[in-house]
């Protein structure tokens, strides 16, 4: 039906019609469950990724916060447009980079706009991801998916740059931490592409580092260092999380002291009581 309208009236009308029809279908799902709990998909998905598929998925799963055509919603929608208090920034011009970052990390869709996006399972298939990314990229000119090359970069330079720009939030061994109001994620299950995207996009509270601040060569070095932390040099033995004194104190009290208490019990005497 929407294809017919597209053919007759052009893409924009087609999109609106599509959005309207899928919204009608999708709203039922959206209204009952937070977007996290269910992805609404078209009943018959095409075999290949396409902007069309992306548009359909967007309309069903993202438009309630990001607005029709990704224009953003900055005020609460009128009651009746679904129980989801949808608000979200405009996605026009964010490009494939941001879309790929948020979607591939599972940050989006976000069920509650007051909650922090967290890395989680990606509920879209690869094809659906690609489609969504293409669609968001088509909303306006924006940065594409970066292609970092950390292999030849300097590990030492990466360590220094990471210490200055990143460790304040992400901890020196990229174990993550806390900043007032949010949790900072560890960086051990992210790809080089995702790291590059995050540095350029600045997801959630994270600062956004442009090429003027961290050049692409420097970014490669930082990525090399972050990937290195996945197999960081723990030549001293069991790394106990690379967090420093907290697990060390636990080992002293929960392994060291009990072993020594056992030693005390072993060497004590037992007399026959007089």
């Amino acid at each position: 039906m929407s294809r017919l309208i597209t053919a007759l009236l052009g893409r924009r009308a087609g999109r609106i019609a599509l959005a309207a029809s899928v919204l009608a279908l999708g709203l039922a799902g959206v209204a009952e469950a937070q977007p996290e709990l269910g992805i609404v998909r078209p009943i018959h998905e095409p075999a290949h990724a396409s902007v069309q598929l992306g548009a359909e998925l967007f309309a069903a799963n993202c438009a309630s916060c990001h607005g029709v055509d990704g224009q953003g919603i900055y005020k609460r929608p009128r009651p009746g447009a679904g129980n989801v208090p949808g608000m979200g920034p405009s996605l026009r011009g964010v490009g494939a980079q941001a879309a790929d970052l948020y979607l591939s990390l599972g940050y989006m869709p976000l069920g509650n706009i007051h909650e922090q996006p967290n890395q989680g399972p990606v509920r879209f298939s690869k094809k659906e991801l690609r489609s969504l990314v293409e669609y968001v990229a088509s909303l306006g000119p924006g940065p594409g998916i970066p292609h970092p090359d950390p292999k030849g970069a300097s590990l030492s330079e990466g360590f220094q740059l990471f210490t200055l720009n990143c460790a304040g939030c992400h901890q020196l061994a990229a174990e993550g931490g806390y900043v007032t109001g949010a949790k900072v994620p560890p960086l051990h299950s992210v790809t080089a592409t995702q790291i590059a995207e995050a540095v350029r996009v600045g997801p959630y509270l994270m600062p956004r580092f442009s090429t003027k601040q961290i050049s692409n060569a420097q970014l490669n070095a930082i990525i090399r260092y972050v990937l290195y932390t996945n197999k960081i040099d723990n030549r001293g033995g069991w790394g106990i999380g690379n967090l420093g004194p907290i697990p060390e104190g636990m080992v002293a009290w929960w392994i060291g002291i009990p072993l020594l208490l056992i030693a005390c019990l072993l060497v004590s005497r037992r007399f026959r009581k007089a």
Binding site: G177, P245, V251
Partner: protein, 471 residues
């Protein structure tokens, strides 16, 4: 056996005679060999701390032969690639060298650090044993005071030890120490300038000073305090539990140092040394190559001091934003509450406790018998409450990692702990006291029952004996 000069030649007596003829120590030694050790495993905790101290000295001497106490800047070129080409102090460089290029160097470093953590933990466990058994009472108040001085001195010693490495993590700790020092009322500024030689990070001289303090001055103090502590324990003899008819406040029953206790204490020493080396080899501690060199303009998330200063970071984090000013002058900058007053109060309460307890109970007698915790309900309850107060503040020091692990927000935790650190100790006080009293009552009831049964049996026997006698 051959006989010379009217005395038999004996492979053991001959050297003993040799030494005594030149030192006149036989009488002393003979008495020492039969010094009495009462029996309980919990009386060995202080020994564990002592053996950890010996490991600290031994490993400390070794690593001090590699360490360079200088902040002169140098550029690293060595096997650890992430540091290659980085500017760092000679001190940090020397520790990286020790960890990577000196065989067994990392083992000695890690064992030294584990020994420090375990040493202080053992002192705390030992302190709790002494407290809850009332072994600090007259005549052992001075021993208790010296023990507390040992504990707090070892905090300083450990802090200086890991700060000497000049890595980013410990350097942040030094920066905080400087901030806490500045906050000492009125004299904090001049005092810190004196110690550091200049505003932080101070002149290069500061590291030399810290080095001398850590390897010479404070170990000398610790060794002296330990010596006096042990001499006092030996002079008054150890407390004991009342385990038999013969143990009384005046009479100590136990095993002699030689030959019964000596192999046990030696075994404990080897176990302690063994556990510490096992930790030093198998569990990584303070991997300074991962922290990078210190820069005063850099920091990292989740920076923490070693565990024994965790109560201080907890206090610093918990304290609300309160500076006390008089006009333009700042009398109490914020860090003074958590960094100076809080540990000061804890130390004072602990030092004063024997005297205050004697005053409040009116009991100024000599006590050589150790009590079971239930036998002193008020003291045990107070101890539990005080410990809970300090422990909760300590736990909050790690609240950011708790948040990351468990998801309970830091700000939420802050609110909860603001209340909990007062409410929980009070509640625990009353609960503990009630439990002690109940246990005591049931002990007395059980003893009374036993006594009654015993008397009944005796009575029955007497009756049977009377009936069976003729006439």
């Amino acid at each position: 056996m051959s006989i010379t000069n009217g005395r038999r030649r004996d492979p053991i007596e001959d050297p003993v005679r040799f030494i005594d003829e030149r030192t006149a120590t036989s009488v002393l030694l003979r008495a020492v060999m039969r010094y009495v050790f009462p029996d309980h495993w919990s009386f060995l905790l202080g020994e564990v701390a002592l053996y950890a101290f010996i490991v600290l000295i031994a490993t400390g001497i070794y690593i001090s032969l590699f360490y360079v106490p200088s902040t002169a800047q140098t550029i690293y070129h060595g096997p650890y690639k992430p540091l290659d080409g980085q500017t760092m102090s000679a001190a940090y460089r020397s520790v990286i060298y020790l960890s990577f290029q000196a065989k067994a160097g990392l083992l000695m470093r890690q064992t030294h650090h584990w020994a420090a953590d375990v040493f202080i933990a053992a002192i705390v466990v030992h302190l709790m044993r002494v407290f809850f058994t009332g072994a600090f009472r007259k005549p052992r108040e001075l021993t208790w005071t010296i023990g507390l001085l040992l504990l707090f001195t070892s905090f300083l010693e450990g802090y200086m030890g890991y700060s000497l490495v000049d890595d980013l993590l410990s350097g942040i700790g030094l920066q905080i120490g400087y901030g806490v020092g500045l906050s000492v009322p009125i004299i904090g500024g001049p005092l810190m300038l004196l110690i550091f030689g200049a505003p932080f990070p101070g002149r290069n001289l500061f590291f030399s000073r810290m080095y001398i303090a850590h390897v010479f001055l404070v170990p000398l103090l610790l060794a002296t305090l330990i010596g006096v502590h042990l001499a006092l324990v030996a002079a008054r003899h150890h407390t004991q539990f009342k385990e038999s008819e013969r143990t009384t406040n005046k009479r100590i029953v136990g095993a002699p140092l030689f030959p019964a206790q000596a192999p046990r204490s030696l075994a404990l020493m080897f176990f302690t040394v063994g556990v510490l080396f096992l930790l030093g080899g198998l569990v990584q501690i303070n991997p300074v190559w991962q922290w990078g060199p210190f820069h005063e303009w850099a920091s990292e998330n989740g920076a923490q001091p070693d565990w024994y200063l965790g109560w201080l970071i907890g206090a610093l984090r918990l304290m609300p934003s309160v500076d006390v000013t008089i006009g333009h002058f700042t009398l109490f900058p914020n860090p003074v509450w958590g960094g100076v007053f809080f540990p000061g109060i804890v130390l004072m309460v602990l030092v004063a406790f024997p005297w205050v307890e004697a005053r409040l109970t009116g009991d100024h007698g000599v006590h050589n018998l150790a009590q079971r915790p239930r036998e002193a309900p008020n003291r045990t309850a107070f101890g539990v409450a005080f410990l809970a107060w300090v422990f909760l503040i300590f736990v909050f020091g790690a609240a950011d990692r708790v948040y990351v692990l468990v998801g309970l927000g830091y700000q939420t935790l802050l609110l909860i702990f603001h209340i909990a650190i007062w409410v929980v100790p009070i509640v625990l006080f009353f609960i503990t006291r009630m439990i002690c009293r109940n246990l005591l009552a049931s002990d007395i009831a059980a003893a009374a029952r036993e006594q009654a049964e015993h008397e009944a049996i005796e009575h029955a026997r007497a009756l049977a004996g009377a009936r069976s006698r003729p006439g």
